[in-house]
Assembly symmetry: C2
Homo-oligomer: 322 residues x 2
């Protein structure tokens, strides 16, 4: 069986808590970013933060695959859960969407969780305790899946662990030896800053399709100027997809820049998953042979659905929306 997309990412369950800016300030939470936390800090913030609004299967790349499935694409996921309730639910939710997922779970660590503090402006500040996800390593990369997928998609958040970086290098080699395409999402500006050299090596040497938001791209090229960052990335990758929130997205190739407007929404509730779903729509379009502009438009529609409700995965069948 071959798939449109094969993804490597952190297997996480999201716990959403409604909060306010004062809470973020008092507890030194960096607004709008993903911060890695240890078990103690995770528990402390969770204790203080108030009641969970909702829990849902999450993880950036896994959200992208859920979106791709909802559009009609086929995919496989690699990532590490624990042997607990959250791991069972995460696994079920992917498999129920026909995403192939057979990475062996950790026998020692609990499923990772992301405490997402949602402020009234719909921004989310993520505090991730990786748990079992840190154990993902080269041995968990299923060579057959990677060799047969049209595109293999790597979640930048995994750069925080050396074993996962080694898994990325293994996957990248498999992809290119099989003459397939490699995609990467930068995931987070601070994550990029922590591992800039490793990211630049990968982007310039291996990545065919790069996903980033404006901040992440600027962080990668250490500039405050989007034009300068776009010019740099066009020398590095075949396609760069740069999301800009309400301003839409820019798709950059060596030859051309495409401006893609955001798809209108009546009310933005929670931006969790917006970038992940943009990637889902874009990659679906690409694997279906659409033009870059058309693929960008599908990305915008997919992103608009997920920001109109709490939770990081689509609640409507995306195929019906495009």
């Amino acid at each position: 069986m071959s798939y449109d997309l094969c993804a490597i990412g952190n297997a996480l369950v999201d716990i959403l808590v409604s909060t306010d800016d004062a809470f973020l300030k008092t507890n030194a939470v960096t607004k709008g970013s993903m911060t890695l936390v240890d078990d103690g800090r995770s528990k402390e913030l969770y204790q203080k933060a108030g009641a969970a609004v909702e829990m849902a299967s999450g993880g950036s790349a896994a959200n992208t695959l859920a979106g791709l499935s909802s559009l009609g694409g086929t995919s496989a996921f690699m990532g590490k859960v624990g042997l607990d309730e959250f791991g069972k639910i995460f696994t079920h939710d992917l498999q129920a969407q026909n995403v192939h997922f057979t990475t062996p779970p950790s026998r020692d660590l609990a499923t990772g969780r992301c405490l997402i503090l949602v402020t009234p402006d719909a921004q989310r500040s993520m505090n991730t305790f990786l748990g079992a996800a840190v154990e993902f390593g080269p041995d968990d990369v299923d060579a057959t899946l990677v060799q047969q997928a049209s595109i293999t998609y790597l979640e930048g958040y995994l750069f925080d662990k050396p074993t996962a970086q080694a898994a990325f290098r293994k996957a990248a080699k498999l992809v290119h030896d099989a003459e397939r395409r490699l995609a990467l999402t930068l995931s987070d500006g601070f994550c990029v800053a922590r591992h800039r050299d490793a990211f630049l090596d990968l982007v310039s040497g291996e990545v065919d399709i790069l996903f980033a938001n404006e901040d992440e791209l600027k962080s990668l090229y250490q500039t405050q100027d989007l034009k300068a960052a776009l010019a740099a990335v066009r020398g590095h990758t075949e396609i760069a997809v740069v999301t800009r929130g309400a301003k839409g997205a820019v798709i950059a190739t060596k030859e051309q820049l495409y401006d893609i407007p955001a798809h209108p929404v009546s009310s933005v509730i929670d931006t969790t998953g917006a970038g992940d779903l943009y990637a889902a729509g874009f990659l679906y379009g690409l694997t279906q042979g659409k033009t870059l502009s058309e693929a960008g438009r599908i990305g915008a529609i997919a992103a608009s659905e997920v920001i109109s409700h709490y939770g990081p995965r689509p609640q409507k069948k995306l195929r019906d929306l495009i």
Copy 2:
């Protein structure tokens, strides 16, 4: 410390899955009802049903307390969780809302879960595996809490287990010896049918404030005629609150009937928790010395919030809405 409300209910985590009427039919799920299922059936339905849209702390009476807290009321909960992730989250979510909750968890059974199949008409069909909740018994009733609460509220779903019924009888005696008021929600028409005699005994002999929807009340008095059911209940309880979905609610006392219109909502997403939140608003009004009509109006507002999104508990601060 004394509380406005003390509640005994099933401690459950809800797992919401979007589905369609064909799935309900194929799998012989009774639409709009709560069905008790064993572990095997719970797992089978979950496997077949598709991806979870969301998970959230639930349980009918616990939802009511979350609503009461959101309005500014004080409360305590009694119910049984397990020693797993779901139990921790359920406990956290109540305690974070300042609900007193110290019932010892089960050491043997997993936290109960309710698989809620939501159809496109926003109706929910619930499949409950009680898990640890079945262990709740008379020893778990904290006499001090019951004696000091203005109102003690019993969740009818617990009638399915004899030990819980015994706990109800113990609580009822404590309430009346302390000259406090006893409230009961009938919970489900089929649950009423399974235990009609025991319900009638309790309603006619002990209950001061009864909550029921139209179907449940008709089931209790074995009539298809709402007027006849209302006449019967007015002979049994001081106050009966009968919810009727989009038609609003009727509040019946021995002296008078009050028609309370539903509070308008722009779009009904998921009716999970509607009755629970109506009870929250009504009981909050009552404990604040409001008139029955005013209390009914607060109930209608609280219910309107929870049906406008997925999940059984309010996402907005209800105090700001009234």
